[in-house]
């Protein structure tokens, strides 16, 4: 019995304080394969050219999530594209500036507005391109003018965007009618089979190498340049100046063709990301040691993050839910209100709730913590309330008759007798949270969801399981651990089956 008590105490301790986990440098990436590859290339470069340790935080939603994560310091750097910073982050219109002008402008602006440093360009640009079958002899976008006979099929996003078809049509005065929108993944196939004649693509897309298409030149420069470069937090560089030297080795190291080849190896040949990065970097003489042993196992980091997130959220929920439940025990009128509100929160789909958090709290740990905190409220409020109401009325009368105050009856009789019921609520909350927290990776909060989400984008079942299995084990362990706590706090002398 004694060891059980100490076990459960240890468990509570973990719950109250969580774990802290820190690394020198944290590298982020978006979910698309190129972003992950470049993240890995930077990671190995830093690991083998400095004494810094690196945490990989790959697969963070999209541009805005990575950018927010950089702002909050969840990550220290990630690969961004000049044109994306100009249009999506600074929200400015492209007015024909040269690639160098864009780079100079945005590096000045991100430094001024956000205290970020734009690292040296990696040398290639990943921009929108139009492609067609070679036999159509379309070499430049100007060649499309007035070609209403062509069957256009563009990705849905490209059709809608102002810097996509609409702008292009006006800029080149193509006088084309609105094209058909379609799923990007299907466009290559449709083009090859002749169902459409022209579509849009990303210039470094790994799948482009699979086909022999004509790239139609943006001869008048409608698309801004999308040069890839590392975007770094200024404070990180100030703290670790050696970081600049390491990353400067990557200047102009990639051409669009080389990038496309690496993407192809990753996306189509399903090669291991760290081998691709190592092969490339060792060719360039930047790294010499094959990584794998030196990199920290993400499962451990993710598991610890997962525990930290869920335990802290649940602990904070206890701090609010228990007093709230006590309050509604004495104010019957507000009881149904409070229970309904917490119930409604519970019914908000997890992804939607996480989404609501972004405009309010940004991304990363905090918004995920708040969302999980909200989810944990209902089970704890409900169980505490039920537990308090189930006090035998004759015990309350006995307490009153002995001259106990209402507060004494609450603290010495009702709460102790309800304690195991309350802990059962905490147990439910914690178990639910461990499951829900796998979605927190979408907003950059880390945890085991990282593996699951990256696995889904890469269609990699092994990777999905590397996140899903520890999450399941964690949920079971938490459930059993809380069962011990529940037993330990059960008032002695009270027989319950």
């Amino acid at each position: 019995m004694n060891y059980k008590r100490s076990l459960s105490l240890l468990f509570l301790f973990m719950m109250f304080f969580g774990f802290s986990w820190s690394q020198d440098i944290s590298i982020g990436s978006k979910t698309h394969p190129e972003s992950l590859l470049l993240g890995e290339i930077m990671a190995q470069t830093i690991e083998q050219n400095t004494d810094l340790t690196v945490t990989r935080r790959f697969g963070l939603g999209g541009t805005l999530i990575c950018f927010e994560a950089l702002k909050t310091g969840e990550i220290d750097l990630y690969i961004e594209y000049t044109g994306t910073v100009l249009t999506a982050i600074l929200k400015e219109k492209y007015e024909g500036q040269s690639p160098q002008e864009i780079y100079d402008y945005i590096s000045k602006e991100v430094n001024r507005k956000f205290e970020f440093i734009a690292g040296k360009s990696l040398g290639f640009s990943n921009s929108y391109v139009l492609i067609s079958e070679k036999k159509l002899n379309l070499n430049e976008i100007s060649d499309l003018q007035g070609r209403t006979d062509l069957n256009l099929g563009f990705s849905n996003e490209f059709v809608k965007r102002e810097d996509g078809f609409q702008g292009l049509n006006k800029f080149y005065n193509l006088q084309l009618s609105a094209p058909r929108g379609m799923e990007h993944g299907l466009a290559y196939k449709a083009l090859q089979e002749g169902q459409i004649d022209v579509t849009d693509a990303y210039s470094t897309d790994g799948r482009l190498a699979e086909y022999d298409f004509q790239l139609i030149q943006d001869n008048k420069g409608f698309f801004p340049d999308y040069s890839a470069f590392p975007l770094i937090k200024k404070s990180t560089i100030e703290k670790h100046p050696e970081l600049s030297d390491a990353l400067n080795q990557l200047e102009n190291i990639l051409t669009a063709e080389k990038m496309q080849e690496l993407n192809h190896r990753y996306e189509i040949d399903k090669e291991d990301i760290s081998s691709i990065a190592f092969d490339f970097l060792s060719e360039q003489g930047i790294v010499s040691e094959k990584p794998g042993i030196t990199t920290s196992n993400p499962i451990i980091r993710q598991t610890l993050e997962h525990i930290q997130l869920t335990f802290i959220a649940t602990f904070l929920a206890i701090l609010l839910a228990v007093p709230l439940a006590i309050f509604i025990t004495y104010k019957k009128k507000t009881a149904s209100w409070i229970l309904s509100i917490t119930g409604v929160i519970q019914t908000i789909p997890s992804l939607a709730l996480l989404g609501f958090m972004i405009p309010l709290f940004g991304i990363g740990f905090t918004p995920a913590l708040i969302a999980l905190f909200l989810y944990a409220l209902l089970p704890i409020v409900r169980n505490t309330y039920t537990g308090l109401l189930s006090t035998d009325p004759i015990l309350i009368e006995a307490g009153q008759a002995m001259g106990m105050t209402q507060k004494q009856i609450l603290l010495k009789v009702r709460l102790p007798l309800a304690m195991d019921m309350i802990m059962a609520g905490v147990r439910t909350a914690l178990t639910i949270n461990i499951g829900t927290a796998t979605l927190a990776a979408f907003i950059g909060a880390g945890g085991l969801g990282e593996s699951i989400i990256t696995g889904i984008t890469l269609n990699d079942n092994d990777m999905i399981l590397r996140g899903a299995i520890p999450a399941a084990i964690l949920a079971l362990a938490a459930d059993q651990g809380m069962a011990l706590v529940e037993k330990a706090v059960r008032p002695k002398g009270v027989n319950k089956d």
Partner: protein, 226 residues
């Protein structure tokens, strides 16, 4: 409840009997303000109980409930020491008092002190209920049908116990019961209630010899025939 007026003298036990619904428990609960009166006065040691803070009043009046209503998560010791604790007695005094009461109840501390109520028989629980009520040496103890849920043998034992306590402690008490025999056995004086009205009050002898009406006569008679 109307037309009820009575006095309990120091060292005296007043039994209140009546049929169910006659209001005997209600009457008892007004004495420690578990229920409040709409009219009339109740005085405790010469002072209107409404002028005594309710918490203070209750800590000076012992109360034994129908079910023992011991706190199940507390040991016997902790249950007994509740009121002295609330009154802020010193540790030594409390420990001594618990020993003394368990001795009085013939439930020695070393056998019972650290046990939990669920480990006790019905009769033992009610003895602890009485010990709890007596713990802070109250000037008045209220009994609310304390033995009604017990079997006849245990009940009889406990009745003897009460007589012993009366003798030994000069306890002042009000004892509510629906058992006429019990009322006559334990009460120095008896008060008979019917439908919220006081019908007769007097010593057991006076009542038996001169029942004021048919109701009292029948009430006493039926009980004794059983």
């Amino acid at each position: 409840m109307n037309d009820v007026s009575f006095t309990v003298n120091k060292g005296e036990t007043l039994s209140i009997i009546g049929t169910s619904g006659s209001g005997k428990s209600t009457l008892l609960r007004t004495l420690n303000r578990l229920l409040s009166t709409t009219q009339g006065n109740i005085e405790f040691r010469g002072k209107n109980i409404m002028d005594i803070p309710v918490i203070e009043l209750r800590r000076q009046i012992g109360y034994v409930l129908q079910e023992p209503a011991l706190f199940p998560h507390w040991t016997i010791e902790k249950n007994i020491e509740l009121v002295p604790q609330l009154l802020g007695w010193s540790k030594e005094n409390i420990a001594e008092r618990v020993q003394e009461l368990l001795e009085l109840m013939q439930m020695p501390y070393k056998n019972y002190g650290t046990r939990y109520p669920s480990e006790l028989s019905g009769g033992e629980k009610q003895r602890i209920g009485i010990a709890r009520a007596l713990a802070a040496k109250p000037d008045l103890v209220l009994f609310d049908e304390p033995f009604s849920a017990l079997d006849p043998i245990t009940r009889s034992d406990l009745q003897q116990e009460i007589l012993r306590l009366k003798e030994k402690l000069k306890m002042t008490s009000v004892f509510v019961t629906h058992d006429v025999k019990e009322a006559f056995l334990l009460g120095d004086r008896v008060l008979i209630l019917d439908r919220g009205k006081m019908i007769q009050t007097g010593t057991p002898k006076e009542i038996m010899n001169n029942p004021v009406n048919d109701f009292v006569e029948k009430f006493i008679a039926t009980e004794y025939e059983l």
